[in-house]
């Protein structure tokens, strides 16, 4: 059975060109970039090429890029650094719909006697900019707001929020794990101080991420030890994955228009096709302002895990914010914050595409998904 992979917000396929860029460093070029000999030194060049490629994708300078092991490490580092460089400030601002890599870190600092403001969202998952402006104080050490939401795809007004923070002299971090590669980001015009990204969301392998730290922003390392990454992140460089991330960044830059045109059109076809064929379903999030690849649809009176497992039988890979899929007993914090109606909340399914998705695959899902919902509704005690 063919696999139709519509779970690209969870992880993505490694691009063959990315793999090719990595293989030399897994085979022959195993040297340590910190070594004095040529054999190691030439490997260091690969790291710097990758850094330059990633910087180019983001409109940043290479020295503003720190390679990390993942998006979560980047997020942890950003918060850690902001708090450690400004010990007198005891307040953080983030959102209720943040990824756990920021949300749980904020909760950790809250236990350490920091004050945290969790900005709320409306029924479409939008932030209130007035609430945000009111939350900023002289005591605020950091604002950390995601660029785009992983579950519903909403894009947040980072430009305006970062400008407001800058006017108030407050550091601004954004978790851009879902946004990088899916939309243009130009840090030469975007006044954020730190930005997190992850390789495996943009067709690089798992286990590599990066943190952008704007030149001039004070920094304290999270992982201490050796002098790698200019002393900002210890640990021997993961050279194959760094090379892979560099190539993925280069390809993402080349594909960035595909996302807006090709991927968005396919997503719209998929979403409209499902909504037209399945009664009683709603699109979660803000369709006017979201990632081109993401669709989150809630189906009334059915439960998400059951939908996913039936789709799985058809070779369709999707994900759900339903309680049962995560081992928790409640729908995801994002769906709860948005306030998805209770008879829909447990039946949410996220479909996330990539430029590898084909129209044929989308047609297949449009054809088969309605039957799954119908089957489950037939045995649900709740009708209408």
């Amino acid at each position: 059975m063919k696999t139709v992979y519509l779970d690209n917000n969870a992880t993505t396929a490694v691009d063959p060109e990315v793999l090719d860029a990595m293989l030399p460093y897994l085979r022959d070029l195993y040297g340590n970039p910190s070594s004095m000999h040529t054999f190691g030194g030439q490997v260091g060049d690969a790291v710097e090429t990758a850094r330059a490629r990633l910087a180019a994708l983001l409109g940043a300078s290479p020295e503003e890029i720190i390679f990390t092991s993942c998006g979560s490490e980047s997020d942890n580092t950003a918060v850690w650094s902001a708090l450690r460089t400004q010990p007198e400030k005891r307040h953080l601002i983030t959102t209720r719909v943040e990824h756990p890599a920021v949300l749980n870190v904020a909760q950790y600092w809250e236990q350490k006697d920091y004050r945290v403001t969790y900005l709320s969202v409306d029924a479409k998952g939008r932030l209130d900019l007035d609430e945000y402006a009111r939350a900023l104080t002289d005591d605020t050490a950091l604002v950390s707001i995601m660029f785009a939401n992983n579950e519903v795809g909403n894009i947040y007004p980072i430009q305006r929020m970062a400008e407001t923070a800058k006017e108030r002299g407050v550091l601004f971090h954004t978790d851009a794990v879902q946004a990088v590669g899916k939309m243009p980001i130009d840090l030469s015009h975007l006044p954020v101080d730190m930005l997190s990204l992850s390789g495996h969301k943009i067709h690089a392998p798992k286990g590599i991420g990066a943190l952008y730290v704007r030149k001039g922003v004070r920094f304290r390392p999270f992982l201490r030890g050796g002098h790698q990454e200019l002393g900002r992140r210890a640990g021997t460089e993961n050279v194959p994955c760094i090379a892979g991330l560099g190539m993925a960044a280069k390809l993402a830059g080349e594909h960035i228009q595909d996302e807006r045109v090709y991927v968005a059109q396919l997503r719209d076809k998929l979403e409209n096709g499902i909504v037209a064929r399945v009664p009683d379903c709603i699109v979660n999030g803000d369709p006017e302002n979201r990632l081109p690849n993401t669709s989150n649809i809630a189906f009334k009176n059915v439960e998400g895990e059951a939908i996913l497992l039936m789709l799985d039988q058809l070779g369709i890979c999707a994900s759900s914010g339903s309680a049962c899929t995560s081992g928790s007993l409640e729908p995801s914090h994002v769906l709860r914050s948005i306030g998805v109606p209770f008879n829909y909340a447990h039946g949410s399914v996220r479909l996330s595409l990539s430029h590898y998705t084909t129209e044929e695959e989308v047609d297949y899902v449009i054809e088969r998904l309605p039957g799954v919902i119908e089957t489950l509704r037939a045995i649900s005690p709740f009708k209408g």
Partner: protein, 278 residues
């Protein structure tokens, strides 16, 4: 990804007895849309008390659907007396086991079965454990009676297990302290084997025991506040009483009946007695 057994997969993808049963004479409903799972169980029970036909409608995850499906197979052909003895463990075992986080699906099956049978027997509309006892978990509507029973029947030892089996405490977590107290009390109790209900009493035995408990345990306590109590009738597990003296005018007589009379009668006579004011 959950590691479901092949049996769970089979029952989920090809559920047995799915759909409502038109000639059902017993229906048990548990759960709700807001809770994330719900089961409506339909039974056709013969005059001899044999479950002849079954049907179900389930809203929930794969394990909830599979638990419902396997349950409807298990009880077909059973007498009501046999079926009522079925526990959630039997349902989980018939599926070759469930992930621990999903055990509440098997509990839901057991509760729906009980609810249906009570309806068939014409017992008062308090079929679910949910509606007995004190509400502990507001998010999922779980009572202390339900928690205690699940702890005992499954020999639960940790807070996490209680949540996995009953869902209680799995959302806002506000009730976790209360659950911990219940669990601590239960763990101090005798092993479950010794707590199993005694063989059923005869009506005469039950009535004597109720009178003895009222005389020795309840009346002295009410007397402290100038009150008294009279036994009016015993109808199966229903005990009808009338409060006298100062208790008769007391606004909190309901509370007295629940917290004092019913609790002591359950403790000293039978755990499933209900007490009502005549």
């Amino acid at each position: 990804m959950w590691s479901y057994t092949q049996t769970v997969h089979d029952h989920f993808l090809q559920p047995h007895n799915a759909g409502p049963l038109k000639d059902a004479n017993a229906v048990g409903e548990v759960g709700s849309l807001a809770c994330g799972d719900a089961l409506k169980l339909y039974l056709k029970i013969s005059v001899q008390g044999v479950i002849e036909k079954t049907g179900f409608e389930t809203f929930g995850c794969a394990s909830a659907i599979a638990s419902s499906s396997v349950l409807t197979e298990m009880i077909k052909g059973m007498t009501v007396d046999e079926a009522v003895k079925l526990t959630n463990k039997d349902i989980a075992a018939a599926l070759g086991g469930l992930p621990k986080e999903k055990m509440h699906c098997s509990v839901m099956g057991q509760e729906a079965l009980e609810a249906a049978i009570r309806q068939w027997k014409g017992e008062p509309p308090v079929p679910q454990a949910h509606e007995e006892g004190k509400l502990i978990c507001k998010c999922f509507g779980v009572t202390d009676a339900q928690i205690i029973r699940t702890i005992r029947e499954n020999s639960l030892k940790s807070l996490e297990e209680v949540t996995n089996y009953t869902k209680a405490g799995g959302a806002c977590g506000d009730c976790l302290n209360k659950i911990a107290e219940i669990l601590a009390t239960e763990l101090r109790q005798k092993p479950f084997a010794e707590l199993k209900p005694q063989p059923r009493m005869t009506n005469v035995q039950r009535m004597r025991q109720i009178l003895k408990t009222i005389d020795e345990e309840i009346r002295p306590q009410l007397a402290v506040d100038g009150g008294d109590i009279e036994l009016v009738d015993v109808d199966g597990r229903r005990v009808l009483v009338s409060l006298r003296g100062r208790c008769a005018q007391c606004r909190s007589s309901d509370v007295t009946i629940r917290n004092l009379v019913e609790r002591l009668l359950r403790e000293h006579v039978e755990p499933d007695l209900t007490v009502e004011e005549a």
